[in-house]
Amino acid sequence: METSRPRLRFVKTDNPPVWVRPLIPVLALVVTFILTSGLIIWASASPFETYYHFLISPLTTRVSALEILVKATPLMLTGAAVTFAFAAGYYNIGAEGQLFAGAIAAAGLGVAMKEIPAVITIPSIVIAGFAAGMAWAAIPALLKVKLQVDEVVTTLLLNSVMGFIVSALLNGPWRDPNSGWPQSPEIGASAIFFKLIPRSRLNLGFVIGLLVILVLWFVLTRTSFGLKMRAVGLGKPAARFAGIHVGRTTLIAALVSGGIAGIAGVAEVAGIQYHLIGDLSAGYGYTGIIIATLGSLNAVGVFIASLFFGLVDAGAQTVSRVLGVPVYLGEITQATMLLVALGFFLLQRYRLRRM
């Protein structure tokens, strides 16, 4: 027989106490702070000062506070896109490529519809961007539903394919004839998203992002399609048994997800850049995965997570300007934050018990 000395063991529990959930972001922040402090000190800055500029100072001026919303706009959209797919158990890693598909549509139509009034042009490019993202997402979605090809691989690889398509366009037919830069010609004034607040970069894209978040919330929580999606995502066999068309539901979720990512591309072209350029997206499609995960696949969570990431993005620029530390510190913080938060999500399902 074994000796009976007491040992601490991790035991899985089904129901983490309710007070754990709100503690996670706070704890994640504290642990992230501790983990990144070493790096900050190494970059010869004070951790507290750095975190002040990261998280507090962007909120102190009007300009930088608006910039948080600008930075949050594409993240709200890609976060919503990824959430829509993940909720249905379809792991769309291809929001980045779908974003560019939407951007191509916006850049093309934005030039072609120069002479047409904005009331028509703006809805047209949004719809076209949605359709383009959907079309690009249709390839892996159909492969998944018809042939059971793993979507993680196909959506991810198609991002690279899209990268080459964009590059081919910008170095070929769409190269700017005036400057010779690898960027598409500027879109017409009628296609440009109007500013919400003068002398800022905040534009119509933010409103569209909010609307999409609202629609996401409504579909997931209020419609029977949302329930079907969640049933498929959480238990395919049970959903199938209950008579839900698993394939059809997955397909629709995947296509809508691609469409929303496409709108993110439209918002960047029509709201910020006015051209299609190679680095239109700072990995928004991938950050969307982080946002969706941290937001635990619900609309409110996605909204809060994208604002927080917008804050860290804006803060990273302030920090590097004020303290002269590399702007990459912001990315390191984001990445650390994600890992720590995921760790906490995992750990909340366990409790320590004396055996």
């Binding site: 029977s224 329930l227 049933a231 959480l234 238990g235 049970a238 048994f241 008579g243 839900i244």
Partner: protein, 498 residues
């Protein structure tokens, strides 16, 4: 002299007594069957011998010496090897590599040398296998041979085979028996876990029968008939909720299944020409030992498994080709076999209850939360479910989960009800409740098809009993004629009446 002595073995899992003071003695050079129904405690006893479980009480002796077996490693050191139903082989590796895996001498593996050694061992034990072949290219029977060779290579003198024929085709069974007889002639002892009577009488020297965790007896195979063994294996009295009153004669057939054939997940034919009529107001029980096609039958009748051929008619209307939702709409009450897979654990009780009939709660795409909530409250009350509407289903006990499933289906008054293993894993109270509900469905006039591995349940509830064996219905008899002996013979494939 006994090579293995297990004396007074008791093993409990929570409240379940899996082995109750069981004695088991194995002679040198014999093939010894361990016979019993599902859940009789055969596998538990052998897992104890192989060090996978520790007994609560009891003594194990190997070669008359008391031993402590804490792990399979200890078992192997004591010359005991076990081949389970699920092989522990690495498909991309060769036979020789699989055999020596975990039993190599140094750091470097000399491929030629181990192939030579494994080849020599295979010849010595008369096991036909190419040591260079990759395991993923081998048929199931050959893989089993690799597992046996693996045990023998580690100098096993006692070989435990857990239902070794369950995965084999008849020719492979013959080859296995040849191998076993040769090993016996070499002085090895084999423990053969089975519930197939003809195999037991064909290959073994002695039989130990377990029932409900208790030892019923150990007998010489030569001195006993298959009927006697069948009676030892299943004979018992029924208890709890039982059917009362005879069914009315001349009821119309509600569910007609004709020449139904279907394949299992491996693409092998799992159901062959199933023909069953279930009348209105009767419970037809399908008895059989697990793994004889019950799962495939239930899934096909629930519309979630494609059938290869045949027909399923509900009141004359063909169901084949319909979607699962189509089955429900036609009036089939479908209850999933695995209640954990049949419900979405992370969704709430309310959502799971609404899932099968979402259209009724939807107005232009929007889900009527009030209506689903109201329905959930009603059903929770009506079916005495101990849960709140917003509890995630995964937090419910097994009995309450089953009640949620019953509520979802039975509240619709289906014309036919398909219930596979409805009380598996439930406690006595929940079991009685579920059985009572099924009887109420019968009295209401529904055609109830009860598929169960629990013979008590079949005997207590069924008006007629069909026995399934290797994917075929081998007999259909009225409850009054169903003696345990006759059922036992049918269930173990000894006779065929259909």
């Amino acid at each position: 002299m006994y090579i293995v002595d297990m004396l007074g073995i008791t093993k409990t899992f929570g409240e379940l007594v899996a082995n109750d003071n069981v004695d088991f003695q194995l002679r040198k050079g014999e093939i010894h069957a361990l016979l019993g129904e599902n859940g009789a405690g055969k596998t538990t006893l052998m897992r104890i011998l192989y060090g996978l479980y520790r007994p609560d009480t009891g003594v194990i002796k190997v070669g008359e010496q008391p031993v402590e077996i804490h792990s399979p490693k200890d078992a192997i050191a004591n010359g005991i090897g076990m081949v389970t139903q699920h092989f522990a082989l690495v498909p991309p590796l060769s036979v020789a590599e699989n055999v020596v895996l975990g039993n190599t001498d140094g750091f470097v593996v000399n491929r030629a040398a181990i192939e030579e050694k494994v080849g020599a061992a295979a010849r010595r034990f008369g096991i036909e296998i190419d040591p260079k072949a990759l395991v993923r290219h081998l048929a199931v029977g050959q893989r089993q041979r690799v597992e046996i060779l693996k045990a023998l290579y580690r100098n096993a003198r006692v070989l435990i085979l857990d239902e070794p024929t369950a995965v084999l085709v008849p020719q492979e069974v013959d080859a296995l028996f040849e191998t076993l007889n040769r090993l016996k002639a070499d002085g090895l002892s084999v423990i053969f876990i089975s519930h197939k009577l003809h195999e037991v009488t064909q290959i073994t020297d002695r039989v130990t029968v377990l029932r409900d965790g208790k030892l019923i007896g150990t007998v010489d195979t030569s001195g006993i008939s298959q009927s006697q063994l069948a009676a030892m294996m299943v004979g018992r009295e029924t208890f709890g909720v039982t059917r009362k009153g005879e069914q009315h004669e001349q009821q119309p057939v509600t569910l007609r299944i004709q020449n139904l054939c279907a394949k299992n997940d491996q693409g092998m034919l799992a159901l062959t020409n199933i023909c069953i009529d279930v009348k209105a107001g009767e419970i037809l029980g399908i008895a059989g030992v697990g793994g004889n096609g019950q799962k495939e039958l239930a899934e096909t009748l629930c519309g979630v498994r494609d059938c290869a051929s045949g027909s399923i008619q509900l009141e004359g209307k063909e169901l084949i080709g319909k979607t699962p939702a189509g089955f429900t709409q036609a009036g089939v009450g479908r209850i999933p076999e695995d209640r954990h897979e049949g419900m979405v654990g992370d969704l709430t009780v309310t959502e799971n209850l609404a899932l099968e009939h979402l259209n009724e709660y939807t107005r232009s795409g929007v889900l009527d939360h009030k209506a689903t909530r109201r329905q959930a409250e009603e059903l929770i009350h009506q079916f005495q479910i101990k849960a709140r509407p917003n509890d995630p289903v995964r937090t419910l006990s097994g009995g309450n989960m089953q009640k949620v499933l019953l509520a979802r289906v039975l509240s619709r008054n289906p014309k036919a009800v398909i219930v596979p293993q409805p009380t598996r894993g439930l406690d006595v109270g929940a079991t009685d409740y579920v059985r009572q509900q099924l009887l109420e469905q019968r009295d209401r006039g529904a055609a109830v098809l009860l598929i169960s591995e629990d013979l008590d349940e079949i005997l207590a509830l069924s008006d007629r009993i069909a026995v399934i064996y290797e994917g075929e219905i081998v007999g259909i008899l009225p409850a009054a004629e169903a003696t345990p002996e006759r059922l036992g013979l049918l269930m173990s494939g000894a006779i065929k009446e259909h």
